[in-house]
Subunit: 134 residues, 2 copies
């Protein structure tokens, strides 16, 4: 399989936040929604069921902890979690803070309009708050 | 908390397929996509991180087995998994078979057009094939 290498599109569209036990945690560079990505650092994985049972459990733990931290930091109404991968096949889990009145509510946030990048300081502040809450 | 009671909208929009260890497994009554729902039979749960750690692990196991069976039965290009809940707050996990050329590809399948109900026999045949593959 070779080593894990982050997909170039994911790298371009998001900021590195942290490395958890299994996953890279990244912040999508789109200030319309607080939107995180978890990417299991395993090569050649496209579907969650291709992970080993232990990695599946780790992914669930890290997803739940990340979702809880995102809810705590943003006080959002609802967390949306998704593993789609129709464009980018490298397995990645979306964890998105949703609120009534956001640009896609109550529909899904994927494939809606164009990303609006953060000011660098805003992204860094949000990442710091999330790391603190994790 | 009281007993678990299935949300009325989920009940109206889907066919019962099976009861797994934790979840009800249901088929969305929309033949545009083979689309399953997993509903953990726990009262008052809206977010995955509100489940106990054991239930989180069970949900992951049942989600992965369901996704694998759906892929095996449909030979789809990609599985999409999501927990949104912006409309219906009772926790439910979507497991959807996606293919290039389907009515929403490569975008998400949620909130796209109107459901096209199955012929009763088609739904029963798909459920039987899925149960067999589980």
């Amino acid at each position: 399989m070779g080593d894990f290498e982050l997909n170039n599109r994911i790298r371009a569209d998001s900021h590195m936040a942290s490395v958890l036990g299994l996953c890279q945690l990244r912040l999508m560079n789109d200030r319309r929604w607080p939107w995180l990505l978890l990417i299991p650092q395993r090569p050649g994985i496209e579907e969650v069921f291709e992970l080993t049972p232990l990695d599946q459990t780790l992914l669930t733990f890290e997803t739940c902890e990340t979702a809880r931290a995102l809810k705590r930091v943003t006080h959002c109404e609802k967390i949306n979690i998704g593993a789609l991968g129709n464009h980018v096949r490298q397995l990645h889990i979306h964890v998105i803070a949703r609120n009534p009145g956001d640009p896609a509510w109550p529909g899904p946030a994927w494939a809606v309009g164009n990303a609006e990048p953060y000011e660098p300081k805003s992204a860094a502040d949000l990442i710091a708050a999330l790391i603190d809450a994790l």
